[in-house]
């Protein structure tokens, strides 16, 4: 047996609280990173970048963000689409107003602006709970999208009402605009995804994560043991919105290049991200990636099978996709409310006991 969990002892609390406590897991993780950074950029094609890898990385960031809010802090949000729009439009305004500053900085700043908007719409969470709150976040979704459609300042009075990303480069590489190469798109998104996943992990394994989970599991008890619900919920909304804002900014600047609020950031985006979190696993970093991968790959897969191989019309495939996604959501909630991440843990546990499960 090459992979084993036993015998990997820790002698300090520092070692015990690291992200991958097992040496072999750690090695696997570094190997995956090495492949992602050193191999994939050289072999990536436009098709793989545009239909699989880049959307996967961007949605993984968004799913991480929503998972922090919903999975860790227990506040259900249906406003992710609206917050992604804030990120996209903020990045657009910043990039067109300050062209001399790197667009990568703008993406981060867009995240910061989204965080502020997120806190504003998160304030009601102090009074409203559960699905009342979920419905309340719809206000953010519809209001923000309406705002970006109706106020010409946000799209610089462009005739089409669309926003289009200007061409920008970083260290001589074009990273936005139509000329961007597949590997540049991929690498930009990969850097953000890895960095933000690391941040998410740091936050959730320590004090902040425990504060959020305490609020999620029993908010009244949390307050009585000394958690300030205001700061706990507002930091959750801020951090979550930051992630979602960055995802929205990347979606617009790096991936799509152009966007229109109600088309690109409609209510369906909110549900898509929510589904990724549910299918992947609430309260799991790995789950956010798994859920994003699953829901990015599923339509590609269905399209290849139904349209590509069987020759069905695309609209039929789209309807079937809706049904499958819907059924999967229900299925996961019934069979494994903790999603793919839990499925993975359970499998490991079973393998550990195999072949003598009792």
């Amino acid at each position: 047996m090459l992979y084993r969990e036993a015998g990997d002892f820790k002698t300090s609390y520092r070692d015990d609280s690291q992200t991958f406590p097992l040496k072999l897991d750690r090695l696997g993780y570094y190997a995956a990173l090495a492949v992602a950074f050193l191999v994939v950029p050289f072999v990536i094609t436009d098709y793989w970048a545009n239909s699989v890898l880049v959307p996967f990385l961007i949605y993984a960031i968004a799913a991480l963000g929503l998972n922090i809010l919903t999975g860790y802090a227990g506040q259900v949000s249906l406003g992710s689409g609206g917050f992604m729009a804030v990120g996209a439009y903020a990045a657009y305004k910043l990039a067109t107003a300050f062209p001399e500053i790197s667009i990568l900085i703008h993406v981060l700043l867009a995240g910061g602006i989204t965080a502020m908007v997120g806190v504003l719409f998160g304030l009601p969470s102090l009074r409203i709970k559960g699905f009342y709150l979920a419905v309340a976040t719809l206000a953010a979704q519809f209001f923000l999208v309406w705002l970006f459609n109706k106020v010409p300042w946000f799209y610089n009075h462009s005739a089409s009402g669309q926003i289009t990303v200007p061409e920008r480069s970083f260290l001589g590489w074009i990273i936005t605009g139509p000329q961007t190469s597949a590997s540049a798109k991929y690498l930009v998104c990969l850097c953000f995804a890895v960095l933000l996943a690391w941040v998410a992990r740091n936050l959730t394994r320590g004090t902040m994560g425990r504060t959020w989970m305490a609020i999620r599991d029993m908010d009244i008890a949390a307050e009585i043991i000394g958690v300030n619900p205001l700061t706990a919920k507002m930091t959750a909304f801020a951090v979550s919105s930051f992630f979602i804002g960055v995802a929205g900014a990347l979606l617009f600047t790096v991936y799509l290049g152009a966007a229109e609020a109600s088309e690109t950031f409609g209510i369906n985006k909110s549900f898509l991200v929510l589904f990724m979190v549910i299918i992947g696993g609430l309260g799991s970093i790995f789950g956010s990636f798994a859920g994003a991968a699953f829901l990015v790959l599923l339509p590609v897969f269905l399209k290849n099978v139904l349209v590509g191989s069987l020759g069905w019309p695309t609209d039929l495939a789209a309807h079937l996709e809706l049904m499958i996604v819907g059924a999967l959501i229900v299925f996961f909630l019934i069979v494994e409310p903790h999603g793919l991440a839990q499925l993975w843990r359970v499998t490991k546990e079973k393998l550990r006991l195999w072949p003598f499960p009792h």
Partner: protein
């Protein structure tokens, strides 16, 4: 009907108990507390104090208002009348999380643990009020964040040793049996290093062995850390053995207050427990 023993609110002299523990001045003083829910009066003009280092019990039949009293003490309910004094100062009306930061920790009658987290994480939440590192430091796991995490972990591990729950450290709380959950809840409250520890029916629903364990822990906590403890309990035997002084409540009023022996011989208390026709 006047309460039988009216404690002096302040100025009680420190003394040493027969078993050698030091009882100090007044830590918490509740003065003329009245609490109403709509038309129902849950607590009616109750006063008593809790002195440093003692184990103070609140007893009474079901619905006497004991848990409501504890909720007033922990700031979760705001009484309509009366004052709560803590460490010589009048405590203004404040949110429960601020009360916790003054040095109060408690356990709950219906266990209020965070079911989605491990035992270790649950106990670590007891130390949340002491964390100083900023969000940015935590996000980058840099600066104070890591050192602080390890320092708190060390303290928590001491409590884990003390309560003999090392082997379930990483188990999700939801999977634990009832008795152990109660113990984890005690650990979480202890982790906060409280000045006053409040236990709401720490032994409810336990079998004899579990009760004995829990009693031992309560005595040890009081003895070794010198923590002041206020507890609500149904089991009269346990209460009489553990506590230094007892408050007896019935129908929201205080009907007795004193040492276990005094209370045991109080006619009104006997009536309340054995039942006497009210006229």
């Amino acid at each position: 009907m006047m309460p039988q023993t009216q404690q002096a609110a302040t100025g009680a002299e420190p003394y040493i108990t027969p078993d050698g523990r030091k009882i100090g001045g007044v830590l918490m003083d509740l003065r003329n507390i009245t609490l109403r829910f709509g038309g129902v009066t849950a607590i009616k003009d109750i006063s008593f104090d809790i002195r440093e280092g003692e184990i103070r019990a609140i007893i009474g039949p079901n619905g006497a208002g004991k848990s409501s009293m504890m909720n007033v003490m922990s700031g979760f309910y705001v009484p309509q009348e009366g004052e709560v004094w803590f460490r010589g100062e009048r405590r203004p009306q404040m949110r429960p999380y601020k009360v916790a930061r003054l040095g109060l920790a408690r356990t709950f009658q219906n266990i209020a643990l965070f079911d989605g987290m491990s035992v270790l994480d649950n106990i670590m939440t007891g130390r949340l009020t002491m964390v100083k590192s900023s969000l940015l430091e935590q996000a980058l796991w840099w600066g104070r964040a890591e050192a602080e995490e390890n320092r708190h972990r060390e303290q928590v591990e001491k409590i884990i040793d003390f309560l003999e729950i090392q082997n379930i450290r990483k188990t999700p709380v939801g999977r634990l049996p009832y008795g152990l959950k109660k113990r984890v809840e005690l650990a979480r409250a202890l982790a906060a290093e409280p000045k006053l520890l409040m236990l709401d029916e720490p032994m409810a629903g336990m079998n004899v062995e579990e009760k004995e364990d829990m009693s031992r822990f309560i005595l040890d906590v009081n003895d070794e850390f010198g923590t002041t403890i206020a507890l609500i309990e149904h089991d009269m035997g346990v209460v009489m053995d553990l506590s230094d002084r007892v408050v007896v409540m019935d129908y929201g009023r205080k009907i007795g207050d004193g040492t276990p022996d005094e209370v045991r011989n109080n006619q009104e208390v006997i009536d309340a427990y054995l039942g006497v026709a009210h006229d």
